[in-house]
């Protein structure tokens, strides 16, 4: 083991011990602790936990690399993943919080008073979270594989064991506080390298202000090489794909069950609004940094690596070639490595850049610990969601309503382990790069849930028939389009990652048509929806609004 391996492993184990410590300290004692942390989490901390929950291996490991590979076209990920918080905080979070349920399938089942809708929602939640967790596991595979210098596949296997142990220990309450810790570690680990790179390249420690000029220089090098400029719009994909992808990611972000459930952990509608604002601020710190990261990486690769003799490449390149994420070939046989002869997988950019820029073993190790924090925190949130949609929505609400708290917790833990292992097997041979796998999860979430949730809290007339038709049509269309696009059939130049642009509108249509063709929902269900217009202190009852001013009736 060299010094770097020891440093990286040491940092990962130290941070891991911290998470386990927090988990044990906050161990779940009752069902409400397990699922929603007994609803007592203050907005700033909840915002930070949402940040940790949200920023997955895709954001941390994959996004800067994707932006680097795609140039301007990669920015659809930046705007899509942040813009979703507008839809979520404006249209859904406060209303869903007032409705007061544990999970998304439970909201759908109770709002539409229909167990078929509940079951479809629970199964869709399982599919979405499962797809998402594949991305996390293949991300942890990249990190562990690099540290131990083993193929990413074995790295993934180790990651599966680690995540399964980790997630079964606690529930939502412990997850909330570990996610706060994980957020802090991952954001520090992400920002330190770009501050150093900014100093190296421009002499100014504020990357957010300096990378504009770097982008300009990259564009100049691109022009010299006869490539399209880095910042040129729609060089890598059609404009329609950019718009479709951004739309898909936005609505998906607003309807991911494991993110929505975080808004059930605050006290009030007001706290839900503030949680959303804090969350986007904390998330924004990383998302504003990713394009800077991409620009510096690309600049360093273009100016320091390209143009070197092929037999004098630095030591780091061999490690990445060995785990299969970097391909180098002297195609024109002139003994020099040209920029066009380097093929960098987007998944290695964030992890490799500190090495490439020679930032020292501590920063490189910190990067690895941050990446593990990102993968673990999201996997933790996802596994709680997977376990609750099975144990709570399917097992308790549909199969065995007499099940005790203990029995439900046990069922939940078993499903968690099963899901981790099965997702791990799929992640051994990942079906795409991390950001792409995660984008599928977003397309499925938006396509299935967004219209049913939005209409559920805003439109009284929406009924069970509409919800069932909407979810089935949305899920079906999105899945079909993803598979069609992967096999080469596309419409308007939109590829698999933009599938939500077809699923969501068709879902809306199905909801409205099916609801209009059937009976309106029962009066008390309609009244519940009207009640969501007002804060907790105001209640809508029998056509009148009442305010609780402390007096009894």
């Amino acid at each position: 083991m060299d010094a770097q391996t020891i440093m990286s492993l040491g940092l990962i184990i130290a941070t891991f011990a911290l998470y386990i410590g927090i988990s044990i300290f906050n161990r779940a004692r009752a069902t409400s602790d397990f699922y929603v942390a007994a609803r007592g989490v203050p907005p700033v901390w909840n915002g930070m936990a949402i940040g940790g929950d949200w920023m997955s291996a895709a954001s941390y490991i994959g996004m800067a690399g994707t932006v680097m590979a795609l140039g301007y076209d990669g920015l659809a990920y930046i705007m899509g993943w942040t813009g979703g918080y507008l839809l979520l905080t404006f249209l859904l979070a406060p209303q869903l919080r007032k409705y007061g349920r544990y999970t998304v399938p439970e909201f759908i089942g109770d709002r539409y008073m229909n167990n078929t809708a509940r079951l479809i929602a629970a199964i869709a939640t399982l599919i979405i979270s499962f797809t998402y967790i594949i991305g996390q596991l293949s991300g942890s595979g990249v990190v562990i594989g690099r540290i131990l210098s083993i193929p990413a596949m074995y790295g993934t296997m180790i990651g599966v064991v680690v995540i399964a142990i980790y997630a079964t220990l606690g529930g939502m309450k412990s997850v909330t506080w570990t996610q706060v810790a994980q957020y802090m570690i991952l954001i520090v680990a992400y920002i330190i390298p770009i501050v150093f790179m900014s100093l190296q390249v421009t002499g100014n420690p504020l990357p957010w202000l300096t990378y504009g000029n770097v982008i300009d220089e990259i564009g100049a090098i691109d022009r010299e090489l006869g490539l399209s400029e880095y910042f040129a719009p729609f060089a890598e994909s059609e404009k329609s794909q950019f718009l479709a992808l951004m739309f898909t990611l936005m609505v998906g972000a607003a309807s991911l069950p494991h993110v929505i459930v975080r808004f059930f952990t605050v006290a009030t509608m007001k706290a839900a609004r503030w949680s959303g604002a804090w969350a986007l601020l904390f998330i924004g710190l990383l998302y504003l940094s990713a394009p800077a990261y991409a620009a510096f990486s690309r600049f360093i690769l273009m100016t320091r690596i390209a143009g070197q003799p092929i037999d004098q490449l630095p030591a780091w390149s061999e490690n990445w070639i060995n785990i299969g994420l970097l391909k180098i070939a002297d195609q024109d046989g002139d003994g020099m490595l040209d920029w066009t002869e380097i093929e960098v997988s987007p998944d290695m950019v964030v992890m490799a850049t500190p090495e490439i820029a020679n930032l020292g073993i501590f920063v490189i190790g910190l990067m690895a610990a941050g990446a593990m924090a990102a993968a673990l925190s999201t996997a933790g949130g996802l596994l709680v969601t997977i376990s609750s949609s099975f144990a709570h929505d399917i097992y308790y609400r549909l199969i065995n309503p007499q099940a005790s708290d203990q029995k439900r917790l046990k069922a939940g833990r078993i499903v968690m382990i099963l899901a981790t292992v099965v997702a791990g097997v799929v992640a051994l041979d990942p079906p795409g790069v991390i950001t792409q796998i995660v984008a599928w999860a977003f397309a499925l979430a938006g396509g299935t849930f967004f219209p049913v949730l939005v209409l559920g809290v805003w439109w009284r007339r929406m009924n069970a028939a509409g919800a069932i038709a909407g979810m089935l049509v949305g899920l079906g269309t999105t899945l079909t389009y993803i598979f069609l696009a992967l096999s080469g059939v596309t419409l308007f130049g939109i590829i698999d990652t933009g599938a939500g642009i077809f699923g969501v509108p068709l879902n809306f249509l199905a909801c409205i048509i099916a609801s209009k063709m059937t009976e309106p929902p029962a009066q008390h269900l309609q009244d519940d929806v009207t009640d969501l217009r007002y804060p907790e202190q105001m209640t809508y009852k029998d056509g009148e609004v009442w305010i609780n001013d402390g007096t009894r009736n």
């Binding site: 609803r39 007061g100 040129a232 719009p233 503030w274 604002a277 009736n553």
Partner: protein, 100 residues
Amino acid sequence: MKKVDKEVAEAYFRARTRMIVIFLIIGFLVSFGVVAFAEFFSQFTFLGVEFHYYMGSQGAVVIFIICLFLNAIFSDKIDRKFGIDDKVSVTISNSKNIEQ
């Protein structure tokens, strides 16, 4: 419990909804709007980058964050204007949870 005038209740809902619509339109324009006309905006530069790239990488995100904080602040103002006390909301919300 005190009955709230129908008009007052309606006014509360309208005020909140109007704000939501305005913020969503702003959010839509700075993201989808700029992307749809990216070629046009690329003739301007801002902080050393072409404007369409700047909006995608920083501008839109910063505006999203500002929208969310303004919404939280203005909503609290509206709540106060209509006599909503956050402490009462917390108590009501907690007691509702225990009942379940």
